[in-house]
Amino acid sequence: MSEQDIAVHGARAGDFVRLGDTHLVVRVEADDRQRGNELQIGFGKNARDGIGMQSIRPSKSCDVVITNVLVIDAVLGIRVTSIGINEGRISAIGRSGNPDTMDDIDVVVGSGTVIIPGEGLIATAGGIDSHVHAMAPRVCDAALSSGVTTLIAQEFGPFWGVGVGSKWALGHGHKQFAAWPLNVGILGRGAGSTTDPLYEALEGGVCGFKIHEDTGAHPRTLDTTLSFADEHDVAVALHTDGLNEMMHVEDTIAAIAGRAVHAYHVEGCGGGHAPDVLRLAGHNNILASSTNPTLAFGINAADEHVAMIISAHGMNPELPSDIELARRRVRNATMAAENKLHDIGVIPVTSSDALGMGRADDTWRKTFAMASMFADRAILDGTVAPDDVVIENERVLRHIAKITINPALVHGLSHEVGSLQVGLLADIVLWPYRSFASKPNMVIKSGIPAWGVVGDPGSTVANAQPLTISAQFGAFGASAAELGVHFTNAMSTTTVEGRRSVPVKNTRTVRGTDMVRHGVLGTIDVDVHDYTVRFNGDIVTCNPLSESPLTRKYVL
């Protein structure tokens, strides 16, 4: 009986759900449905005119409803509910149906409403990848296929940009990204000894600046870019002086001078002060993130990275001094510490470093593989009372914050994206329970299915093999541009035909303590000889993973 009920209606309040093949077991906190009045669409079901659907205009009910879905959201928690969408935004969350015939309806379903059945699926906010080298257009396909709907890009390659300065080039870049149903912001190059190079990028519609040692991360560029950002409310992403050519990490902290900055790949494998750039984390004004190759710290992590650094940064493996520079960036101890600092809430953001030194389609997977490393095993064989079973709701919600609401806050996007709260864009990813964070079933962009699982196009049914994760209707025609947002700044004079331009905001006042389910501050020390990391005096580390969940069983 239970098995049949779960197969038909999915999990209910109090049920335990294992996320993919991880050790993460969550317990459903609430179920907004009323027993007996669950809304279902199909032959012989109750989502019919006058029964489960009210005979009113969709504009008075909702355009789209996702029914009976298990929401996992850093702000809303873990609950079974329905999500109503009007004109691309989330308009209501709660019990769905027809108030004429059902009690306490929050999401009114009209006879013209599109119904997306969510039983057996998990709904999350679309992922936000705040560190993308768009070195090739297909990086957008990879991102969408992994459940990412917002990119903060640093170039439109194949050239290595680490920020774009030219207004003329930016005009083309924004137009190119409008081909995908994605929200995209481009970072300007924050390599300015004077503000002159920064102005054109601002007019060109950047949403922030990137300071990178490859183009100059010196005291003057830091101060100029941060001052300029303060004046115009845009974010600043920072890859520090890994050579220690002009400054040590403490000098960088001093040059930042309390201003908000997003510290990319804070562990240092991706670059930055060697060997102790990790000391940037834990400061209230320095919002730290990790890139995905060091996450779910694994037994092969260090071996992978030397070649990756040489390849990504225009170095030459024939040059011994280049190999030496690359080796200095790869340290097992700081990688192990980085993973632990995520688990205890010190590092609030994960990202990819796509086509730079990370994987565009791996951030969801690696973020939750990392969460699984630290999870306790739930005992579900009935020998432990239900209320005593160790569950991972808080850990799961902390980790989902790293890829949704926290990067939105850091980059000033949270008035549009980052969670499933009413009023935000309906950027929603639907995941089967069994492949959560590994392979999405559907990526809904501003309320329209834009990417997801598609089958043999000549088949009688939509789900015949070979199933691939690729473009849905929302990725075609003028919709692709309209469904996405161009994240920009208030001074921009650049517009993109068919795409809404939205200035980022509150980027200069955001602090570590604003980070959802994070905000743990403290002092990090890195022993410069053996790289042992201490947080507030205590050693932080973890054991490397020999077998990563969410990957081996799922990826061809």
């Binding site: 109090g14 294992r18 012989g44 009690d103 081996r552 061809l556």
Partner: protein, 227 residues
């Protein structure tokens, strides 16, 4: 070859199946895409060799054995759909496996606390006779008062009620037979719009019930003479 998009997709299955086959030959335990490709490919090849639909299902079900799979994969393989070219044309085949999941299965739901059953303290039980020559089915939330006039029962007692069964299910009324059903009051604002037009408004408005009965009588819902 003049290949269509569907034929090109068929090559994706073949490529994945060949890859999986070479891994299996080395003794490598198979993952989800590998096992799926082998199953889909086995169905297609069986059909190509003249198998019947049932024989192709048999080929698919037996394409991989549980001991060739990574842990938990066998429970992830249900409902594999694939189209194959049989001797009588293209046909859809769906391969299902018996569920053998437990709490360690990827994506498993474990219910340790029994959920409450449907409850109501206001139930009505009626005998309903299907006075016609074809079967009739009624779904959960249909206003029972307005079901097919060929069902003969105490219609007034069903006013403002629907079937007391789990959402999404239905009750069959076989032709010529009498079936007992239990009904529960419609909830919410109790407004019935549409259906057969017998109410078309608030159920509990003054005179609504009497007017609905009058319309039902006028339209032949009470006489049972439609057959």
């Amino acid at each position: 070859m003049e290949l269509t998009p569907s034929e090109l997709d068929r090559l994706l299955i073949f490529s994945a199946a060949q890859l999986a086959e070479s891994r299996r030959a080395r003794g490598t335990k198979l993952n989800h895409p590998e096992a799926t490709a082998l199953i889909a490919n086995a169905v297609i090849e069986a059909a190509r060799d003249g198998a019947t639909h049932a024989q192709a299902i048999h080929a698919g079900v037996n394409a991989v054995s549980p001991d060739e799979l990574l842990d938990g994969i066998d429970s992830m393989l249900s409902g594999i759909s694939v189209e194959a070219v049989f001797n009588d044309g293209r046909r859809l085949v769906v391969i299902d496996f018996p569920s053998n999941s437990d709490s360690s299965t990827p994506g498993s739901v474990t219910r340790l606390v029994q959920q409450s059953e449907l409850q109501s303290d206001d139930l009505v039980t009626l005998d309903v006779h299907n006075n016609s020559t074809v079967d009739i089915s009624v779904t959960t939330h249909m206003h029972f008062f307005e079901v097919n006039p060929r069902l003969i029962f105490d219609r007034e007692a069903s006013y403002g009620r629907h079937l007391f069964i789990p959402a999404g299910e239905h009750v069959d009324f076989p032709a010529g037979q009498t079936t007992s059903v239990t009904l529960v009051p419609i909830t919410g604002n109790r407004i019935i719009i549409g259906f057969a037009g017998l109410v078309d408004g608030p159920l509990d408005a003054p005179g609504a019930r009497e007017e609905a009965m009058r319309r039902a009588r006028e339209l032949g819902y009470l006489s049972g003479d439609k057959s």
